[in-house]
Each structure stands twice: as structure tokens, then as C-alpha cells.
């Protein structure tokens, strides 16, 4: 026994709180191992896959894959897929799917480009127009799924077709709208000044360390079960090392011709994605609304009987998903500096669904985290980028990505079965 009793509890200390046996470091590790063996793998397969793939590409293409230029490239390439995937996590948590997210991003990019170029609006109005477009699409989808009761697979497939048409109508077949607005272009093509990058990174690591140590201390004080201090510190050190190493790499000169143009610093899109991920992660894990999303995915009927507005939760998730797609559309437009009729088409949606599922979000609902989208998105970006460097054709890239997605879905299904057998849901 290493803790005090609950100060507020007037009754005798229960076995459940106040006098819990705090686990030691070794116990925490072994309980994690048994959780993984019991089928609760979380992002572990994706992290392993990421490590293996990275190692393989570094060995095969040491001079190009691990260069600062390519690492910055990876972030910029992965940004669009990761942004859509973060939104998709909300819909997948419900046990639904949004097949239209890809073309929602395309349509929002087209709206942005039209507002900027054709109507000559300032960038913030055009950005707002794109986001509102996403919100409207999400509201329509959410209403049709939650209140009319159309299966999400069908209605989002219909929306997929319709939005593909909308993009064509806005831009015109064979057309192309070039974006020249410096603010929009900066999103995916400019970098944070190196000093500011360091400052942001250090603030982020310190903030993480502060909140996790404070949570640990509070839980210990209240006599609630808390992870061992060693584990908490290990996580802080690991995160700090990764973040600072990334900033160090990205703050190196990576221009092929440094005398003419200097490319240095963390791409602007990185702090943008991190901010979005923190906000969405907070919503999912720290608010009642987020809790209700998990509840709907776990047991819709129980949630309804608990007095929760299930239809409202479902509609809101579709709205979040489409809004994230809209942001992704803006990022895609910024990266390409133009919008063409195929924006958001081809592999965008499938990569995004793949990212969420590879990261460990279940297609059956009720299980998933925002970090899944980031890790899964990294896996997809690494495959896409590494195989291109190795000179493989698009055909082979699709086959490999498909195989990875199939493997991830299989891991999801098998771990779900195993979890049911060992009672870990």
C-alpha cells in the first residue's frame, strides 16, 4: 500500500478507491503486455509497421529517404490524408462511414479556388466559404443518416457521386484554377522560422510534461489508480526526444540550391495538424460529447436509454468529418497551388480510411483515437513516398497500400474476436 485514503469519503475505505495498490513499473509493463495479448492492441501494429517500413527504406535509399528535404516532404504529402482521416475517426467511431469525404475536400477546394480567383475574395472569406461548404455537406449527410435512417454507406456513396459532379461543374471539364493567394499557398509551402519552431516544440513538450505530471499527482493524492511515475516520465522523455529530433532535422537547410533559395524550418502545416489533433483529441477524450460518441458506437440503444440525443451526436460527427475534409481540401489546393476536376478523387478517400484503420480505429465502431489517424497516415505517407523513391510504378504502390489496408482490417477483425474471447471489448 502506498497511498492514503480518500479524504472526502466518510464511509470505510473501499477496495475500489482510496486504498488501491498502485502498480509498480514492472507490473504496468506486464499488464500492458497482457492487454496486447488479449487483443487490445491499439496502435501497436501500426507503430511496428511504421518502424519496419522506415528502417527498410532508410537501408535501401539512405541518401534520399532520410534527407531533411524528404522528411519535410513526407509531412506535406501526408497532411491531406491525415486531416481527412482525423475527421473520419469521428464517423468510424459511430460505426458509420463517410465515402464522400474525398470529394467533399475536392468540392471545398474548388469553392475556395473559385472564391479566390473568380470572385477575387480575400483569403479569409474564401476559406470561410470552403469551411461552410464542408459544414453544409456534413449537415446534409448527418441528417439523412440519423433522422431519415439511410445507411451511411449508401448515402455517402450518393454524395460521392454528386460531389464529383459538383467539382466538375464548378471547374469545368479539363479546366484548372490556379491559386496565387500567398496566405493559402503558405499553408503547405512555407516554413516556420527555425527559432519559432524550437520555441513551439519546447513549449509543447513542457506543456505535455506539466499536464501529465499534474494529472499523476492529483490521482495519487485522491488515492485513485495512477500509472507508475517511471512510466509517465518515460513517455515524456520519448515524446520530447522525437519532437526535438524532428525539429532539429527540419531546421536544417534542405534546399537543393541553398545559394538561390533557402528552405529551412518546420513546415507550417505541421503545427497546424498538431493543433487540430489536440483540439479533436480533447473533444473525444475530455468532453461529455466525446464520451457520447464512444457510447453510441458501443451500444446505441443503451445510449438512447441513458437520455443522450443519439441523432444529434450522429449528425455532429458527420459535420465534423466533412469540416475536416474541407480543411483537407484547402491544404490540397495549397499544395498543388491549383484545383482541377479530379481534386479529392482517386486514392485520397481510400488512403484516409486506410490511415484511420491502419492506426487502429475499428470499422465496427466504438474504438479509435485521433492519434490513430496520425500514425496510420504516417504509414501510408511512408509507403507512398518510399516506393516512389525506389522507382516503383503507381500500380505497385496501389497494390502494396491495398495489401497494408487489408492487413490492418484483418488485424482489426482478429483482435476484435480475440478481445471478445478474453472479454476486453
Amino acid at each position: 500500500m502506498s497511498t492514503s485514503t480518500v479524504p472526502s469519503a466518510p464511509t470505510a475505505p473501499s477496495l475500489l478507491a482510496g486504498s488501491v495498490e498502485q502498480p509498480t513499473f514492472g507490473e504496468a509493463v506486464s499488464s500492458y503486455v497482457s492487454r496486447v495479448r488479449g487483443g487490445d492492441m491499439g496502435s501497436l501494429p501500426a507503430i511496428l509497421a511504421l518502424a519496419v517500413l522506415t528502417l527498410a527504406f532508410v537501408i535501401m535509399k539512405p541518401e534520399t529517404f532520410a534527407s531533411a528535404l524528404n522528411i519535410a516532404n513526407l509531412f506535406q504529402q501526408g497532411a491531406v490524408v491525415v486531416t481527412i482521416a482525423m475527421g473520419l475517426v469521428f464517423v468510424l467511431l459511430l460505426g458509420e462511414i463517410d465515402l464522400s469525404a474525398g470529394f467533399t475536400s475536392g468540392a471545398c477546394g474548388a469553392v475556395l479556388a473559385t472564391c479566390l480567383v473568380v470572385y477575387d475574395w480575400p483569403w479569409y472569406l474564401a476559406l470561410a466559404a470552403a469551411l461552410v461548404t464542408g459544414l453544409v455537406v456534413g449537415t446534409i449527410l448527418g441528417t439523412l443518416v440519423a433522422r431519415v435512417g439511410i445507411p451511411s454507406f449508401i448515402i455517402t456513396l450518393a454524395m460521392f457521386l454528386a460531389l464529383q459532379g459538383v467539382v466538375l461543374l464548378i471547374i469545368g471539364a479539363g479546366g484548372n484554377i490556379s491559386i496565387t493567394d500567398p496566405v493559402i499557398i503558405a499553408l503547405q509551402n512555407r516554413n516556420v522560422p527555425p527559432l519559432l519552431g524550437w520555441a513551439l516544440a519546447i513549449i509543447a513538450v513542457l506543456a505535455y510534461a506539466g499536464t501529465s505530471l499534474r494529472t499523476w499527482q492529483l490521482r495519487r493524492k485522491r488515492g485513485l489508480l495512477a500509472a507508475p511515475l517511471g512510466m509517465v516520465v518515460l513517455k515524456i522523455v520519448a515524446l520530447g526526444a522525437v519532437v526535438l529530433a524532428m525539429v532539429a532535422v527540419l531546421n536544417q537547410e534542405r534546399s537543393l540550391n541553398p545559394l538561390r533559395t533557402s528552405i529551412i524550418g518546420v513546415p507550417i502545416v505541421v503545427p497546424l495538424i498538431v493543433t487540430l489533433a489536440l483540439i479533436l483529441g480533447f473533444v473525444l477524450t475530455r468532453t461529455a460529447f466525446g464520451r457520447h460518441i464512444y457510447a453510441v458506437g458501443g451500444n446505441t440503444e443503451a445510449t438512447r436509454r441513458a437520455g443522450i440525443n443519439v441523432k444529434g451526436v450522429q449528425t455532429a460527427c458527420f459535420m465534423i468529418c466533412s469540416s475536416m475534409a474541407a480543411i483537407a481540401g484547402v491544404l490540397a489546393a495549397s499544395r498543388a497551388t491549383s484545383v482541377d476536376p479530379n481534386a479529392g478523387g482517386s486514392n485520397v478517400l481510400l488512403y484516409a480510411v486506410g490511415a484511420a484503420v491502419i492506426g487502429g480505429t475499428s470499422l465496427f465502431g466504438g474504438k479509435g483515437r485521433i492519434i490513430d489517424a496520425l500514425i496510420g497516415g504516417a504509414v501510408i505517407a511512408v509507403i507512398d513516398n518510399g516506393m516512389a523513391l525506389l522507382g516503383y510504378s503507381s500500380g505497385i504502390k496501389y497494390v502494396v497500400t491495398g495489401a497494408v489496408l487489408a492487413a490492418a482490417a484483418a488485424v482489426d477483425a482478429v483482435s476484435r474476436r480475440r478481445a471478445r474471447a478474453t472479454g476486453r471489448g
Partner: protein
């Protein structure tokens, strides 16, 4: 035992002549129920007798088409689950009650989370949940942060019941809490049910199992084809009699019952015996049959 009827507190819940139609189907054709604080009232009846419909009407999932509902002596109308919750009525459903992917604390506070501004107040919820479980003498769960999926059937029932008493509820309705449980777990849950009543709550226990009913119930209400056949004191009746009431809707007059009365809309049934379900002999008969006609 008091002799003055005015001094006896009104029952926590009283239903008089409740009726419910689903189109042409008369699911409830005059049901009466009295549930008193500090007592376990069993609601028994064969499949299709209307037990589920009745508790759904009390819980606000459906509304009675006709009849009176009195809560603590006050006439009330329950038309939505929120109404029932506001009165202090909690229902523990046989299944569909818990989310497997959430832990015990999350399930207990589902829909009524404690918040700190926008944020969930996790430690407050965890502490409170632990207190409630401890007050119910629940010592069978290892950690209240484990997922509900990893709990046994009895533990799941325990969590569902603990969730119902978290909210200063006055009436807890349990729908077949022991239907899927083994012997030891059934015993645990029944003890918990008894403790709820001893703590001063009114408990309505829906059950098929005569052993359970006779073990914990103070009073037994029998439904037969959508009507209340009788509500009798457990100590005044016998297993045979209750089974006879369940299967035929009538029985030899148990001691302390009021004279049977013909139901106006069910003349085919010979004798629908109606029993006083009151704890005090001086109380007026509270369950008279078929107060309204179709």
C-alpha cells in the same frame, strides 16, 4: 402497524387502471401496481402478460393511454424517459444497458457526466462511483477503470444497478436481473436488490423465477393477459397460488384479499381476484381492477 390510515405514507408509485393499446392490440387492459418505499415488489406474469409494456409505460418509453399514475401520492403524467428520471424513477434493463467499450465509471455516469466547465471531471466521477459501489458492499470488481466487456454477467448487473442508485433515485425497476446468471451470481444480485430496499428505495423486480421472487419480494403483483390478476403479500401467499394466478389469472382466495370483481371488458374471465397490496391492514384497497372500459 399503524391503525390510522392517514399516517401511512403514500406508496412511492401507484398505478391505477393503466391501459395501453398498440393499434388494435390491447397490451394493457387495466393494470394496477403499488410499490412502497423499503419494499421489493415483484411483478410476475407469463410471457406476453404485459410486464415489459407496463414498466416501459412507467419509465416513460411509452405513455399509458388511460389510467392514473400516482408518484408519492401525487397524480403525475410520465410521457418521456426524462419525466421518469426527474421523478427519481430508474430502470435497469435486462440487456442493452451498458456500453461494452466504456469502463465502469463511464457507464455509471453515461448521459449525466460530472463536468468541470467543458471538461469531464474524471476524478470526481471515479471517487463517487467507488463510493456508491462501496456503499452497496460491492467488492467483486477489481478495478472500476476496467471495461465493462471484461465483467461477468453478475458484475454487469451490479454496475447497472449501482448506476440506477447513483442519482438519489426513489424507485428502481429491475427487468429480469437474474435471467442470464448462474447460481452464485444470482445470489449476489438478489442480495443487492434486498439491500436497495433496505436502504429505503422502492424496488420493482420483474422476474420469471419463483425462487427469486419468494426470496426477496415483500409483495407480488401478478399480471395475466394485460390485466392485474392480483397483488398479494408474499408472506400471505404460496408458490402454488402465485403460479395458479400466472397461468389462469385466478386462484383460490388467499387470506387477506378483497373480493374478486368482474372486469368490465373481460367478461370471459371468471374470477379475477384482486388483492390488497398494502403493508397496513387498514389501508384502503389500492388495486381495483379495470377502472376504465374500452
Amino acid at each position: 402497524m399503524t391503525q390510522a390510515p392517514d399516517l401511512a405514507p403514500p406508496p412511492t408509485l401507484e398505478v391505477r387502471g393503466g391501459r395501453k393499446n398498440f393499434g388494435a392490440v390491447h397490451a394493457l387492459r387495466g393494470v394496477d401496481l403499488v410499490a412502497r418505499a423499503g419494499e421489493v415488489t415483484a411483478l410476475v406474469g407469463d410471457n406476453g402478460a404485459g410486464k415489459s409494456t407496463m414498466i416501459k409505460c412507467v419509465a416513460g418509453i411509452y405513455a399509458f393511454d388511460a389510467g392514473e399514475v400516482l408518484f408519492e401520492g401525487e397524480q403525475t403524467h410520465i410521457s418521456a424517459p426524462a419525466d421518469a428520471n426527474a421523478l427519481g424513477i430508474e430502470v435497469v434493463y435486462q440487456d442493452l444497458a451498458l456500453c461494452d467499450n466504456l469502463d465502469i465509471v463511464h457507464n455509471m455516469f453515461l448521459g449525466r457526466e460530472l463536468k468541470n466547465g467543458f471538461r469531464l471531471d474524471e476524478s470526481a466521477m471515479e471517487t463517487r462511483a467507488a463510493e456508491v459501489l462501496a456503499s452497496l458492499s460491492v467488492r467483486t470488481v477489481r478495478s472500476i477503470r476496467q471495461h465493462v466487456a471484461s465483467l461477468s454477467g453478475g458484475q454487469r448487473q451490479t454496475v447497472a444497478i449501482a448506476r440506477a442508485v447513483l442519482w438519489n433515485s426513489k424507485l428502481v425497476i429491475l427487468d429480469e436481473p437474474t435471467a442470464a446468471l448462474g447460481v452464485a451470481q444470482t445470489e449476489q444480485v438478489l442480495q443487492l436488490v434486498r439491500r436497495l430496499a433496505d436502504a429505503g428505495l422502492a424496488v420493482v423486480l420483474v422476474s420469471h423465477n419463483m425462487n427469486d421472487v419468494f426470496e426477496v419480494a415483500d409483495s407480488i403483483n401478478v399480471l395475466y393477459l394485460g390485466q392485474t390478476a392480483a397483488q398479494v403479500r408474499t408472506k400471505d401467499t404460496s408458490r402454488m397460488e402465485v403460479i395458479e394466478l400466472i397461468t389462469s389469472g385466478s386462484a383460490g382466495m388467499p387470506p387477506g384479499t378483497v373480493a374478486p370483481k368482474m372486469s368490465p371488458d373481460a367478461p370471459e374471465r371468471s374470477a379475477t381476484s384482486v388483492a390488497s397490496a398494502t403493508a397496513t391492514t387498514s389501508d384502503a384497497p389500492t388495486t381495483t381492477n379495470g377502472s376504465t372500459s374500452a
